[in-house]
């Protein structure tokens, strides 16, 4: 019991201190996860809209692939990228291994299928009117995007939240391609692994609390936006 209260006390002191190291880790975590989510959403949402609307042979297979992608183990995504980025790899000349850029790419790989899958699901659940508007021949791509944005907005918000929640919580991909370099590629999850490895359980738990707080704030903001969106429709 004494041990537990010690660890929890230490964790809260760590968070309350909010030292320069924690601030730096938090900032990088937010930037990497936000960029990765943005890339995943920008590519995944249009793909999801298209997938939700279109009727073609093999659509079931594409859906299955996207759904599998939603559950791809982050460490596998990291490994795939590592192989590409190694000096002998196809993208070795980029020298991107162990940089924030590589971390963004790895997490974008995770965010894309989630953004696509959640959006496709939302589009399929649209009412018939909106679907017909979307499928009409005389609507330009831009117009189609506008209609989709208006009608599917709550679904897209859910896709953003899901993608962001996934990437900010994953450790496997960023650890493999980022390398957890102090002051360069250390994010909340990899810092937790490192502190736990060192038996610094208080600091590890403190970092976990910060991570949960970030996820909670982002989800609250998106849920609020979503509810406003629904109320307007």
């Amino acid at each position: 019991m004494g041990f537990l209260t010690d660890v929890v006390g230490e964790a809260f002191r760590y968070v309350a201190d909010f030292g320069p190291e924690l601030r730096e880790i938090l900032a990088l975590t937010l930037v990497v996860a936000a960029l990765a989510t943005a890339i995943g959403v920008v590519l995944g949402v249009p793909f999801g809209v298209w997938l939700g609307l279109s009727r073609f042979r093999g659509r079931g297979i594409v859906m299955a692939i996207v759904n599998t992608g939603m559950g791809i183990p982050p460490v596998l995504a990291g490994l795939l990228l590592l192989i590409l980025l190694w000096n002998d790899g196809i993208l070795g000349s980029w020298e991107a291994l162990f940089t924030p850029g590589a971390m963004v790419a790895a997490q974008a790989l995770l965010a894309f299928p989630i953004a696509a899958g959640v959006t496709a699901g939302a589009v399929r659940n649209l009412n018939i009117d909106a679907r017909e508007q979307l499928s009409a021949f005389n609507v330009s791509p831009a117009g189609r995007g506008w209609i989709a944005g208006r009608e599917v907005w709550p679904g897209v918000a859910a896709a953003v939240a899901a993608a962001f929640g996934r990437v900010i919580a994953e450790v496997g991909a960023v650890l493999v391609v980022g390398g957890n370099i102090e002051g360069e590629t250390r994010v909340l999850t990899t810092a937790i692994v490192q502190e736990a490895r060192q038996s610094n359980l208080g600091a590890a738990l403190g970092l976990g609390i910060v991570l949960l707080a970030v996820a909670l704030i982002v989800n609250l903001a998106l849920t609020w936006a979503q509810m406003r969106g629904e109320a307007r429709v």
């Binding site: 070795g92 791509p141 390398g179």
Partner: protein, 258 residues
């Protein structure tokens, strides 16, 4: 339009990556030396900028093989020699030496009468006491396997538990199960407050010496490599030891040339 957007975004990523990736020195070092903060404390005394990635000896040499690291700091003679055989241009120098400990519950550890580490392992196996292995290709794991070979016992059975994890987790598992494991002194000191394990004392612990090597992999790491293995680096290592452990755990090699 989608394609152009994709290319634009990819270009951004490359740019971000390129900015931070081009002319820094990348050092891969053993997990314990990185996690404990030792390497950071050494490297902070160097005038240039160095980025440190932690990993097991096997992981670091695999990445170094791909040219990802300019300098590797590792501790397994066998894997190092294999690497040097594959890379005739690489340079190896002795860096510092720490020691391994065999740790276990105080009451059981006190019953072990062995004179050498290998005999102690044989005794643990014979009595069927639980032993926890990292089984992760680390230098610590490599040493453990060498000691088992010396002991004449096969580490197979219910009493032999593999974590596949780093040292901190492995120590926690060992403690939870009132078992034995082999650990670097630095990692044990860092975690000691959370553990009830004690180290077995040996009259002769030559087999537990833990020499680290620095390997120059890419020419771009030359300046740092020379500094690290030279007099300034040795002094920095002593100061870093004091800062991190309050005592000398990683003793700088006297003569760095090998």
């Amino acid at each position: 339009m989608k394609l152009r957007l994709a290319i634009g975004l990819l270009a951004t990523v490359v740019l971000v990556a390129g900015c931070s990736g081009s002319d820094r020195i990348l050092v891969g070092a053993g997990t314990t030396t990185v996690d404990s903060g030792l390497i950071a404390a050494v490297e902070s005394r160097y005038s240039g900028s160095v980025s440190v990635v932690g990993g097991s000896t096997a992981e670091i040499l695999a990445s170094a093989d791909q040219g990802s690291f300019d300098v590797a700091i590792v501790h397994d003679e066998e894997q190092e020699s294999a690497f040097l055989a594959d890379h005739p241009d690489a340079v190896r120098r002795g860096l510092f030496t720490s020691r391994f400990l065999i740790v276990g519950p105080a009451d059981l550890a006190g019953q072990i009468a062995a004179g050498t580490p290998a005999e102690a392992l044989a005794e643990i196996a014979a009595r069927g006491w639980t032993f926890v292995t990292r089984a992760d290709g680390s230098g610590t794991h490599a040493r453990e396997m060498q000691l088992w070979a010396l002991s004449g016992m096969d580490p197979v059975g219910e009493w032999y538990v593999a974590t596949g994890q780093g040292m901190g987790f492995t120590l926690q598992v060992t403690d939870q199960r009132s078992a034995f494991t082999i650990v670097e002194e630095g990692a044990f000191l860092a975690a000691r407050d959370t553990l009830t394990l004690t180290a077995i004392e040996f009259p002769d612990d030559t087999d537990l010496m833990n020499p680290y090597s620095a390997i120059l992999v890419n020419e771009s790491g030359r300046t740092f490599f020379e500094w690290l293995t030279g007099l300034d680096g040795r002094n920095a290592t002593l100061l870093a030891n004091d800062e991190v452990f309050g005592q000398v755990v990683y003793r700088p090699s006297q003569d760095s040339e090998q």
